[in-house]
Amino acid sequence: MSYIIPIGPYHPALEEPIHAKLYTEGEIIRDAEVFVGYNHRGIEKLATERNAIQTLVLVERVCGICSHSHALTYAMCVEQLNGIEVPKRGEYIRVITAELERLHSHFLWLGVACHIIGHDSMFMHIWDERELVMDLLEELTGNRVNYAMVTIGGSRRDIDEDMKARLLKAVDKLKGPMDRIVEIALNDKTIALRTKGVGVLTKDDAMRLGAIGPHARASGVNIDVRRDSPYCSYDDFKFDVPVVDSGDVFARVVVRALECYESIKIIEQALNNLPATPINLGNKLPKIQKGVALCRHEAPRGQLSHMVVGSGGFNNHRISVHVPSYKNTPTIPFMLRNNSVADAGLIIASIDPCFSCTDR
């Protein structure tokens, strides 16, 4: 018997609004469609009436999870247009914030995935550790969500010796719990049974459909902007890019879990080698020079790109924000095919979607 099962836009299995239509035969999904647009706020239009500093505040509100990524990528565009060279210390502080953001984002997703699987003790354990990362972000930036760490030409808050020591100690303290989390994630029978062989996206499909970030790396695509097109002094740090070939939900768990270790490596290197330069170039409001700039940042969910068009005045002529979930959401129907209806919520969540970002 064939059915069309609608899921969403508001549904307990979904974290954010998306509408999916599942075309099923019995319990098996034969095809699917996804519809977005329930969060469209017109942020790109609002940005055309704001100057660079106001836009930093605005673009941070695109997403509550990767707010630093948006501010960073926008700032990089304005700096590219204006030929501004950011002092090294400012870049290192940007990197530290970005990697802490990746840690909290991946912990959040791993927790949510465990919750959907039905492994709630693991969910609570992971979110308990995530609190430590949130506390670090609060100590570093003064905020738990929209960090306001980026300004045009650098970072807004410095890290003194005391804070450096506290951050290093706290990051070191994360390693023990992370080992336990990764061990459970990789070896627990419940997680393996619900994720192995589920929601497979092949490498060829991932490349053709433009999947990016951990989602693509879990399908064997070896891409990472931090390494392929370095920015913010990322080429100063040694880190690996975890890539797994199996392309299923389990691979996405593995890639994100291993990426947490790499983030800690980067944070430790950045803290231990903080350059003795200013953190920014002062508080001047810059004009946005005429031209087009496009910059990319490896946000927690994948490559984030901002395009800024300047006209020589203080306001943006146009900004265009394209987020990882915009690239990864169209892969959902391909992953849902020939899977069970019961796995639909998990498969949709496995791309770590952010529809707030996608819609802008």
């Binding site: 433009g210 097109s229 087009v292 496009l294 002529h317 146009r318």
Partner: protein
């Protein structure tokens, strides 16, 4: 600082460039669209030829070829977005369903750029009307 290389092309070159890039395994970063200061439509196809973004621009065209049969959804979604927001027609693109905007919005507005009043004017009107 990341490198960005702009090249202006004609619309006939869009498909051959996309085919060449796809064959070489190059990612399509994004298709962007905006109205330039002269009010002309500027559409760019941005490819990740690491470590550089190669950006191919077509200026002043409101009908363009679709590359959604080459790059699938990676091209179809941004093409649909540009179609909805600026009214650019992509030949061969399925626009039977909306991507971001409500289904009824374009039916009432008619095809073409959706005219949005500048926010400063809107605010002034609201203040004036109390």
């Amino acid at each position: 600082m990341q490198a960005y290389k702009r090249t202006d092309i004609t619309k006939d070159q869009v498909v051959p460039i996309a085919e060449k890039m796809r064959k070489a395994g190059v990612y399509l970063t994004m298709i962007h669209g905006f109205l330039n200061e002269e009010g002309q439509m500027d559409v760019s196809w941005d490819y990740q030829v690491e470590p550089v973004i190669e950006s191919y621009h077509v200026v002043g065209e409101m009908t363009l070829p679709s590359i959604s049969d080459i790059y699938d959804c990676a091209a179809a979604w941004p093409e649909r977005e540009i179609n909805e927001l600026f009214g650019v027609e992509f030949e061969g693109l399925d626009t039977s369903k909306r991507l971001f905007l409500p289904e009824e919005m374009l039916e009432t507005q008619g095809k073409g750029q959706i005219m949005v009043m500048p926010l400063s004017e809107l605010r002034a009107n609201v203040i004036k009307e109390g």
